[in-house]
Symmetry: C2
DNA sequence: ACTTAAAGCGAACATCGTTCTTCGAAGGAA
DNA sequence: TTCCTTCGAAGAACGATGTTCGCTTTAAGT
């Protein structure tokens, strides 16, 4: 019986984990589940990976590989920053609740560094003061990750409920809306009156709104930049 | 033997949990730990609390009780919004890593609602379009919670290391800085050149910078507001 | 061919959240 | 007072988790 040895390796473990994450979510991504998928036991994984945290960091950076980075065009620096943020949002959203891993971990993997390098280059080319650019990388990453993470919690709840996405969201937000409407008007007059404005706007809309605020704020601190920001919609 | 019965109740459990959270962190806050502190077993808690998630939601709202809310002054709406955000940041930071609970949970507790009501009232008084105000409450809450959460991860790591806070932070960021400096210059030229600008600025400074961006961005979308934002520092 | 270093892997440990089940005491009704 | 109902207290256990220990098996080096 010449069963092939050394079938296990780091890349295979990472790829398998990423597949499980996408299909079943972060809660289902246990060491045992990964091992099971590879036809072995959990102990076998520890020869290739320090611990679970390292494995998570690895699959996070692996997911970031899909984020595209452009060559800096000084005239379009704000638009480029915006495009990169939207692309990162798209990629992270596509990998379900991976954003939880990125929250609070500054980028040390090759792809995280690649993205940070591109952001820094774009901002410096655009004339953003280096000190601002340094903090901006941090703030942008935090905003993107936290927003995707928030969305992922809804998806996780939907997965647990077993319902179909559309009907689940409808029911979920319907309940929230009903809750807000049932609040005592004397204590929360403004909130109750504005329920509609609290509830409309879906995920991507909210993300773009906040991103636009941040970029407008940055532009207002950079000399020569259009204070109206990259978009003028609304 | 008139041993007092019914020593357990919701408020006592919440208060005890909040004390453990502050002293030992979120990781140490298990149902068993809370029960032990109350001299009983974990099963006893379930008579007063649905499950752990509900308990966490309760202590989160309890912590929010410390956030002060002002009467709206239409002329100072941006400053008031800023003051509330800083106050919430202060309160959440004081309760260690409680911010993780608030991430992704829209406010349904009495204190969360009280804060949202005040924010909405301030913005409407200041002339912010209701649709913007609705999203702003969401975006501000997300920004505050995610930033405090990021900080709490550092504190958690420091707690596990057993070291004193100052020396831990110094060592931690020293390692990160060293790592960045050791990167290959040909692949990450801009990043390596700007290490100093990536690392300076401590927690509160970063938070205020991002908050300022968001508020400037909002001001630029509201007619009649000062496009330079609430502060002009930097 | 023999040695050695390391991967594979079953079993176990210490946790965790939660549930089942039993016990006991408070409070109302007769 | 005495009985009965109700519900909180709590021990034990279930199924999971991340991780470690120790043994076996294999591949590579000399």
């Amino acid at each position: 019986m010449n069963a092939p040895r050394a079938v296990l390796n780091r890349d295979l473990i990472v790829a398998t984990s990423l597949r499980i994450l996408g299909a079943e979510g972060l809660d289902a991504l246990s060491m045992r589940r990964v091992a099971q998928e590879l036809g072995t036991g959990p102990a076998s994984l520890y020869a290739h990976v320090e611990n679970k945290k390292e494995l998570l960091d690895l699959i996070y950076d692996e997911a970031l590989a899909e984020v595209r980075v452009p060559e800096p065009e000084p005239e379009r620096w704000l638009e480029q920053l915006r495009e990169m943020a939207l692309d990162a949002f798209r990629v992270l959203s596509a990998h379900a609740d991976i954003a939880k891993i990125g929250l609070g971990n500054l980028p040390t993997g090759p792809n995280g560094l690649r993205i940070a390098e591109a952001q820094m280059a774009i901002m410096l080319a655009g004339g953003v003061p280096p000190k601002f650019a340094g903090i901006m990388i941090d703030r942008l990453g935090l905003y993107i990750c936290s927003d995707v993470y928030e969305d992922s919690l809804h998806l996780s709840r939907q997965r647990d409920s077993g319902k179909e996405l559309g009907s689940f969201m409808e029911e979920f937000f319907g309940q929230i809306e009903g809750f807000y409407r049932s609040l005592p008007v004397d204590r929360f007059p403004t909130l109750v009156a504005q329920v509609d404005n609290l509830m409309d706007a879906d995920g991507i809309e909210r993300f773009e709104f906040g991103l636009d605020l941040i970029l407008r704020g940055l532009a207002s601190r950079v000399e020569g930049a259009d204070p109206a920001g990259p978009t003028t919609k609304g």
